[in-house]
């Protein structure tokens, strides 16, 4: 039997190339005669455009062209709408207002593009931005989620009656009934804060129109090459095979790179075709902060109804969700919030309502976590508040209500981002809780360590919370596996890789069926010229969906190889095995044929073939799950707070996580590490701040604090639980967002515990020392 390549921590295939500086990123691409783009962005958050004067800019030496919305003529149009609203939720309201690629009559957020300069260098293009003059009438800025719906609030889209973007209600059981039966109802106003995606590499695009072959070559940092290809083809009136979208190496995505309706996706391809010149645009950090997308801004009015013994009867959660100036990404984020509020516990009655509003802020689309973080924060904060009211230990109330393993699969009754009911497919939720409590020595800390510290005037607190991570949603992904004549294997998909390790993990899946070294598997990702079909990298779905498609394709290729070898070796295929790059007779290993030779013979060039024969050691496969696979876990933190300066140090961090089968446990750990770093950022460092006029105050890394390696705890203590998902043959669930969604809830619980006896009552997902100081002062009555 050949050795499995699954669940092994292979070092990454891609690392030698990347670590020796041989990566090829978007800005590394140079094409002779290439022109460069700079984008004029609005300084105002809300304004009517009277005129944009580009004459002076056009005259500057080195400037090739300047375009405004007017100059785009008929090509200008809003959209596309990337994600439609779910029609399955009855009574939903959704006012689609997709992004305007370039502002036409009106500016709706500070940073919105108003003109594009094409020049011989990026320097010249930026110089020219100063000579574009805007004649505008400033309008009142709308930034407050709740006040945006006030009667008389300035309208962001004047054709609508209000700034309401969507209103979606879902109910499971009856909240009214829960209240009627409850001994206690706890209400909280809970706020989650605005954060950026902050990939180390910003967005970028290089476009070359090949006028002789009538092909548009596009290199882009997109997370979704196929949808981008389709969108560009549709806009420019080309066939799909005339547009080739290719991912170079990409330095992180985290969500904002899934957007394919921004100026770079819609306007720059048009300019490249018009000018018949290669064009490059690489977003700078300031533009990324101002003009790309961000997330997390919600205000919840949440209630929990309980029995005296802590049994949850119901939850009600009505929340405002800031979608920014447009809503091109539908309701993905707030739908995720709706499903993640209730997903660890038995909550028989649940009413949830999204009130999505337009504001004069940058567009909100998924950022790693994508609504999950908010839901978890709301539920866990409600539980802590309820425990406090009931005089219960926060762990006891969780133990009391947590879903037991025998309840799996658990149907939540709530429609999720994939427009089907959210189903928790598998897992041992109490097991994760107990494992974390044991690892972090909860009892010992509470009973022995903390009282001693208290007596010394020290403020250390512990927090333990649960989370689920809805992952691996549909609709589908596909892949092609092909054995080459050298015996090396090609795995091709049109997914997208931003650093997740797919060149290794996808190879492991194929190698497991084909008996070749993973180094002999070349994985091609994100090239629509090599593979036509796919959706994109989001929702922690790559390993599950593409991985399963690769597995299924590799099984077919294996069958093909065995069938062919069986004829050649004149041996029943049951007696054959694939190992070391050959097919051999298991009991007679010196009798074999190499995969390369088989590949050659699988493509006969003379003679005849049997009917139904498919050439090549090649197969394609597609996989689409009925619903997502749900990962889950438990986070424990011990925080050490300096009560005088309010500085916070993470003393211990323990996480138990279940993402089903770990294809590569080292890479799984890496995903958890990176996620936790983002989670710590959300809780403690990162916050996008707009001033009273809609100017983003935090438009650089000087003001927007991104967590650094030096800010991380000394150790992430990771405990794995493996409950294979029943939904796919390898038992995989996603892991990309686990760490990023669980920290704020735990952080706030631990801070409150550090100041036990004082009622800090933290209902905000972001807590800097400067804020914590005031919470403590307030609790002291100072």
């Amino acid at each position: 039997m050949t050795e499995s390549t699954i669940s092994k921590s292979y070092k990454r295939n891609e690392d030698p190339r990347l670590l020796t500086g041989n990566g090829n990123y978007i800005d590394d691409i140079e094409i002779p005669g290439m022109l460069h783009v700079a984008i004029k962005r609005s300084d105002y958050a809300h304004a009517k455009i009277n005129k944009i004067d580009t004459e002076e800019a056009k005259k500057m030496p080195g400037v090739v062209a300047v375009y405004t919305a007017e100059d785009l003529g008929d090509y200008w149009r809003p959209g596309p709408l990337q994600v439609p609203p779910p029609t399955v939720i009855k009574g939903s309201i959704f006012h689609a207002r997709p992004l305007e690629c370039i502002a036409k009559n009106k500016i709706r957020f500070s940073g919105e593009p108003v003109a594009v300069v094409v020049a011989e260098s990026r320097y010249i293009a930026e110089d020219a931005l100063d000579y574009i003059y805007l004649d505008i009438e400033p309008l009142e800025y709308v930034g407050d989620l709740e006040k945006s719906l006030d009667p008389g609030a300035p309208l962001i889209h004047e054709d609508l009656e209000s700034n309401l973007s969507a209103d979606v209600r879902q109910e499971v059981g009856s909240w009214e009934k829960a209240v009627a039966e409850a001994d206690l109802v706890v209400k909280k106003r809970i706020v989650t804060k605005h954060v950026a995606g902050g990939a180390i590499e910003n967005r970028g695009i290089v476009i070359q129109w090949d006028d002789s072959f009538k092909v548009l070559n596009v290199w882009a940092t997109t997370q979704g090459p196929v949808p981008m290809r389709n969108s560009i083809a549709k806009y420019l009136g080309l066939m799909e095979n005339q547009v080739r979208v290719m991912n170079p190496d990409i330095g992180g995505g985290f969500g904002p790179k899934i957007m394919s309706s921004q100026i770079d996706d819609v306007v720059i391809p048009w300019i490249a075709m018009k000018l018949k010149k290669p064009i490059k645009w690489v977003e700078d950090r300031r533009e990324n902060f101002l003009g790309t997308t961000s997330e997390r801004d919600q205000v919840h009015y949440a209630e929990i109804a309980l029995k005296k013994d802590g049994t949850i009867l119901g939850v009600k959660d009505e929340f405002y969700h800031n979608t920014g100036a447009y809503n091109p990404y539908g309701m993905t984020v707030p739908l995720n919030t709706q499903t993640h509020v209730i997903s660890n516990y038995n909550i028989p009655n649940y009413f949830t309502r999204i009130i999505m509003v337009f504001t004069n802020q940058m567009v909100v689309t998924p950022v790693r976590g994508a609504g999950r973080s908010h839901g978890i924060f709301v539920m866990e904060r409600l539980l802590d508040a309820a425990a406090k009211e009931l005089g219960m230990d926060p762990i006891e109330i969780r133990r009391k209500n947590i879903l037991p393993p025998e309840s799996m699969p658990f149907r939540t009754g709530v429609i999720g981002q994939d427009f089907v009911e959210s189903v928790l497919d598998s897992g041992d939720y109490p097991g994760a809780l107990e494992k974390t409590l044991e690892a972090i020595e909860y009892e010992k800390f509470k009973k022995e360590i903390q009282p001693k510290l208290r007596a010394e005037g020290k403020h250390k607190g512990i927090g333990v919370i649960m989370f689920t991570e809805g992952t691996a949603v549909g609709p589908y992904e596909g892949a092609k596996v092909m054995v080459g004549v050298t015996g090396k294997v090609n795995v091709v998909c049109a997914y997208s890789n931003q650093g997740q390790g797919h060149y290794t993990t996808f190879a492991q899946v194929a190698a497991n069926q084909l008996g070749v070294d993973i180094k002999d598997i070349e994985v091609v990702i994100g090239d629509t010229g090599q593979w036509q079909w796919g959706v994109g990298a989001f929702a922690s779905r790559g390993m599950t969906l593409v991985g399963t498609a690769i597995h299924n394709a590799a099984v077919k290729v294996r069958e093909k190889a065995l069938n062919l070898a069986s004829k050649i070796l004149e041996t029943p295929k049951e007696e054959l095995e694939l190992a070391d790059g050959v097919v051999r007779i298991a009991d007679l290993p010196e009798k074999f044929i190499s995969l390369g030779e088989l590949a050659m013979r699988a493509n006969p060039t003379r003679g005849t073939v049997e009917e139904g024969m498919e050439p090549g050691l090649e197969a394609a496969s597609y996989y689409g799950p009925p619903h997502g696979a749900t990962g889950y876990g438990c986070l424990g933190l011990i925080l050490d707070v300096d009560p005088e300066t309010a500085k916070v140090k993470i003393e211990r961090l323990v996480i138990a996580d279940d993402c089903g089968t770990n294809i590569n446990p080292m890479i799984v750990d890496g995903q958890i590490h990176g996620g936790l770093q983002m989670g710590i950022g959300e809780a403690f460092y990162e916050n996008l701040v707009y001033d009273d006029y809609g100017q983003l105050v935090t438009a650089s890394f000087m003001d927007y604090l991104f967590p650094q390696a030096t800010d991380m705890p000394a150790k992430f203590e990771i405990k794995h639980i493996v409950t294979p998902s029943p939904l796919n043959p390898l038992g995989i669930k996603g892991i990309g967002e686990a760490g990023a969604i669980c920290v704020p809830a735990c952080f706030m619980q631990a801070l409150e515990d550090a100041f036990e006896g004082m009622d800090l009552d933290i209902t905000d997902s972001f807590m800097s020392p400067g804020k914590l100081y005031h919470y403590v002062q307030k609790a002291k009555g100072a």
Binding site: M702, L705, P769
Partner: protein, 291 residues
């Protein structure tokens, strides 16, 4: 994030550099390590017409002992060179500790000692260290040299007494008195990041348990680096009791700094930090002095 057009000059001697600065007048701007100026230019917040790059002027990079037991540091000496210099480590351990808080190693490898002082960022470490250590600055122009004490050098945020045709050429540190302890205290949001409040202190004891001199420099809490006067007024000649130190710390926080409210903290919070950090710095410096 590309700078606006500018002229660039790279003189190889002090004389040549001074000629160029005189010629350019207000249009010229000295480029030292570039760790602050270049990002400001990339943001187009700074748009100098011409840069006079001193990186090729080798004669401005040195650390030399002075006759009285102090040190003279050439303006273009890299922060990391000062940080690792044996003499600096022996004579001014507090300076080494201070430099280690400047951003990150990679930035200290490029950033220069004189450049940071001439840049006069109110949130920077070295202007405060120069005040604390009572540094003396050699300023050169074509007309000759003049000497300015650190206490007379800084006049506001990013503003000094330097004229456009002048350059800060050398920083002279007087010897550290015997029986001196020192302490560096800061609260910043991130390691290597800007401080929300920071205090550097030296305390010299007189040998009989009383304070001979107490110096407290503050930065990131006003329009420039500050040297507080109250600590020495109260503590000199006194036994530095916890009560006396607390009184000084409270006074400095209330009256001798001017932190504003920003996105990371309110004025109230930052005055509280000054209070706590001055107390901790003086307490620690006294302990160090007794060792």
């Amino acid at each position: 994030m590309k700078p606006a057009p500018f002229d660039y000059y790279a003189p190889t001697s002090v004389e040549e550099a001074l000629d160029k600065l005189t010629e350019l007048g207000y249009s010229g701007k000295v480029l030292a390590g570039g760790q602050s100026l270049i990002p400001a230019m990339n943001f187009r917040m700074a748009r100098p017409t011409a840069l006079v790059d001193l990186n090729k002027v080798k004669e401005l990079s040195y650390i030399k002992p002075t006759a009285d037991g102090g040190l003279a540091i050439g303006t273009m000496t890299r922060d990391s060179v000062v940080e690792e210099d044996i003499m600096v480590n022996e004579r001014y351990p507090i300076l080494v500790k201070t430099i280690k808080h400047i951003a990150h190693k990679q930035i200290r490898n490029r950033g220069t000692f004189g450049g940071a002082i001439a840049h006069a960022d109110p949130a920077a470490q070295l202007p405060a260290a120069a005040l604390l250590l009572d540094a003396n600055f050699k300023i050169l122009s074509k007309a000759g040299e003049r000497w300015v004490k650190a206490t007379d050098f800084f006049i506001g945020p990013f503003m000094t007494v330097l004229e456009p045709e002048e350059m800060l050429a050398e920083v002279v540190l007087p010897p550290m008195p015997a029986n001196t302890g020192a302490s560096y205290q800061q609260v910043s949001r991130q390691k290597g990041g800007y401080a929300q409040a920071a205090v550097i202190s030296t305390v010299t004891m007189d040998g009989s348990g009383k304070v001979k001199e107490a110096r407290v420099a503050l930065f990131s809490v006003g329009e420039s680096a500050l040297l507080a006067s109250k600590p020495n007024q109260v503590l000199a000649g006194q036994v530095p009791t916890a009560e006396a130190i607390e009184e000084v710390a409270a006074y400095v926080a209330k009256n001798e700094c001017d932190p504003g409210t920003d996105i990371h903290g309110t004025e109230e919070y930052r005055r509280n930090l000054v209070h706590v950090l001055v107390r901790r710095a003086l307490t620690d410096a006294v302990q160090q002095a007794k060792k």
